[in-house]
């Protein structure tokens, strides 16, 4: 299968004192027709990587091919074939939705009709409204409409739903699903787990400018050892539970502990749960609370890095 994106040993260093390496030898292959997600905390190098792939930033070193072309020699060929939504673009306030999309349409040799782009993002009611009058979710859908009006083979979306309310996020997911139905490739960054799980065929977990895990959301979760998670805390004043003993319980694959909360990765909760309760009772440890849930990419990230995705990174990491 041909590759939509190939990226080898990508490095981006920002000069300064001290120099900052936002991307440190990143490898990626994105297949045609898939939706690929770059997942990671703020400052992990997601946006930098994306902007290099989009031709907006020059890499310090490494090799990048987009749709079989390289930046520097075939810029226009690439630009005609990709669509982009940046993390934050403030389109002109006093142009209407239709005028804005028509202007973007004019930049491409071929593309879809502006009305068709408006229909695909469900902004028909707002076609004649000024951009300044749109809600956050509507503005984001307009940005996507501007990205797809050139009928791209490959669509880049940088944190498409950050800051949106749940309803607006779901609407945008619908738009992305619709775009994928035509067999096009999507590459997006996100720091929302549910978004990556809902949208992406494959996910690369990025941390400190490198890919630390790669696979389908299912595969990554399976790497935890169990697809379910049992979390519990003990009543105040209780002695700590024996983690090694917990790990030996049936169906338990991994144990971790964070700020007094225990997290067990388990394969069959109906086997692990009775064993856990019996064990705690026998040890005389009273429970404060207990929950079970499906494992998520968040658990993957925590198990890989020991940190949560939403934690703030040190300020020196370039966004």
């Amino acid at each position: 299968m041909p590759h939509a994106i190939e990226c080898r040993q990508l490095v981006k260093r920002y000069d300064g004192k001290p120099p900052v390496e936002a991307v440190r030898g990143l490898d990626l292959v994105v297949n045609e027709g898939e939706c690929f997600g770059l997942l990671g905390p703020n400052g992990a190098g997601k946006t930098t990587t994306l902007e290099i792939l989009e031709g907006l930033l020059d890499a310090t070193s490494g090799d990048v091919q987009v749709l079989g072309y390289r930046w520097g020699s075939h810029d226009n060929e690439i630009r005609e074939r990709i669509g982009i939504s940046l993390q934050e673009t403030r389109l002109a306030d006093k142009l209407t939705v239709h005028e804005t999309i028509t202007m973007f349409r004019s930049f491409y040799r071929t593309g879809i009709e502006p009305d068709e782009a408006i229909r695909r993002v469900s902004l028909e009611d707002k076609a004649g409204a000024w951009v300044v009058k749109l809600s956050g979710g509507q503005k984001q859908r307009l940005a996507v409409a501007c990205a797809i009006v050139g009928d791209p083979q490959l669509l880049f979306l940088d944190e498409p739903t950050t800051g949106l309310d749940p309803a607006s996020r779901r609407q945008l997911w619908e738009v992305i699903h619709g775009f994928r139905k035509t067999g096009r490739t999507v590459m997006l960054t996100t720091h929302y787990m549910d978004e990556a799980e809902r949208l992406c065929d494959r996910v690369a977990v990025v941390d400190h400018g490198q890919v630390i895990a790669l696979g389908t959301p299912k595969e990554l979760i399976a790497q935890l050892g169990g697809e379910n998670v049992i979390e519990f805390t003990l009543a105040d004043g209780s002695p700590a539970a024996d983690e090694a003993e917990l790990a030996r319980l049936p169906a338990v694959r991994a144990v971790s502990r964070e700020a007094g909360a225990y997290r067990l990765a388990v394969q069959q909760p109906h086997v692990a749960l009775p064993a856990l309760l019996a064990n705690l009772q026998a040890s005389g440890l009273p429970l404060a609370n207990l929950t079970t849930r499906h494992a998520t990419l968040e658990d993957v990230f925590v198990s890989l890095t020991g940190r949560h995705l939403q934690e703030e990174e040190p300020a020196d990491a370039a966004a």
Partner: protein, 357 residues
């Protein structure tokens, strides 16, 4: 490949026009403000068709009772000249009146002295000094000792009023403001919004983008110049002595030079604050030095060569040469050369150092 259905240059120009027309404040500053200014200055500095010289006649300090014709007959002598407005006043407050400019000249009667009066003027006020000369001349003529007054002819040359001087300066100033605000500020605003970056990610040609901003700007400016000229003609009767084609070329040349300067100023600025500061740095000296409101020749001789090299000075000289003196672009070649140099030079540098990302 099918023919293009949507033309990027046309779409970009259309967007600029729409954005401009939807911004009432911008329309006022571009079209309304210069007219208000022209009207205000034109009225403030209009010529008085009949000049009035206010003269107070008082009894000098220290003079006791005086019996004689009021004002010692001076009022009758001065009344022969209709410009004089003579008032006989009590002597208490004449110094204050002279100081405050309520009167231009005070004649203090000194009976018995020769001549029987003193003249008091306020030497820092031009009107006061002129009043003294006029009164002296009138009184001297009446003494009959002077030769007959020479016949006076008035030069009736068009374009010698202040409003005639001001109008081309206002056009020049507007071309400067248009280039810097309409291009410099607009470009930086788009950079701050990350719109430049967004455009860069499309196959849009950069030349189309820059041309669109220039075209739309020149269009606004031409309309602005037409409005100013029409207003000047209708309200103040200012006429263009030169050729309108050459005037249009001069306006386009000035617009081009300041568009280049605007683009250069905007080429690297990252914030609206930076661009505002830079624009003021460029514009303020020229507002004062380049002869918009008063002739730049009032500045010392040594700085004249520098002032003459400023783009607004060159543009104002060019516009005044055409509008007031009916000169042609050929005779004004130094100004044409300076403006062309600015336009070409700033564009070349701006395109080289322009920051798109």
């Amino acid at each position: 490949m099918p023919p293009r259905k949507y033309w990027p240059l046309a779409q970009l120009v259309l967007s600029r026009l729409r954005l401009f027309l939807r911004e009432p404040a911008a329309i006022f500053w571009v079209y309304g403000f210069p007219i208000v200014m022209l009207l205000a200055l034109g009225i403030a500095f209009r010529e008085n068709p009949t000049e009035i010289i206010a003269v107070d006649v008082v009894l000098a300090d220290g003079v006791g009772a005086y019996v004689g014709p009021p004002a010692a007959g001076l009022d009758h002598e001065l009344a022969k000249d209709p410009r004089f407005k003579v008032t006989i006043r009590p002597r208490e407050d004449w110094r204050k009146r002279l100081q405050a400019g309520k009167t231009d000249l005070v004649i203090a009667i000194l009976p018995g002295a020769s001549p029987p009066y003193q003249l008091w003027d306020e030497p820092h006020r031009t009107e006061s000094r002129l009043a003294r000369y006029a009164v002296e001349a009138a009184l001297l003529r009446n003494q009959g000792s002077s030769p007959p007054a020479a016949q006076v002819q008035h030069l009736q040359k068009p374009g010698s009023r202040y409003i005639d001087f001001l109008l081309p300066g206002m056009i020049g100033m507007n071309l400067m403001g248009g280039g810097l605000w309409g291009i410099g500020f607009v470009v930086v605003d788009m950079r701050v919004r990350k719109l430049l970056k967004r455009f860069l990610a499309t196959p849009m040609r950069r030349s189309d983008f820059l041309l669109a901003i220039m075209f739309s700007r020149l269009l606004f400016t031409l309309i602005d110049v037409v409005i100013l000229l029409a207003f000047g003609y209708v309200v103040f009767g200012v006429r263009c002595q030169g050729n309108f084609l050459e005037l249009t070329l001069a306006v386009l040349l000035g617009g081009f030079a300041f568009a280049g300067i605007g683009l250069l100023v905007a080429s690297r600025a990252q914030t609206v604050e930076t661009i505002s500061g830079l624009m003021n740095l460029v514009m303020l000296p020229m507002w004062i030095l380049s002869g918009v409101f008063f002739s730049s020749e009032r500045f010392p001789e040594v700085v004249q060569p520098i002032i003459n090299l400023l783009p607004l000075t060159a543009l104002n000289q060019l516009l005044r040469g055409i509008i007031l003196e009916g000169q042609s672009l050929l005779t004004l070649w130094p100004q044409v050369g300076i403006l062309t140099g600015y336009g070409v030079g700033t564009f070349a540098i701006a395109l080289k150092i322009f920051r798109w990302k």
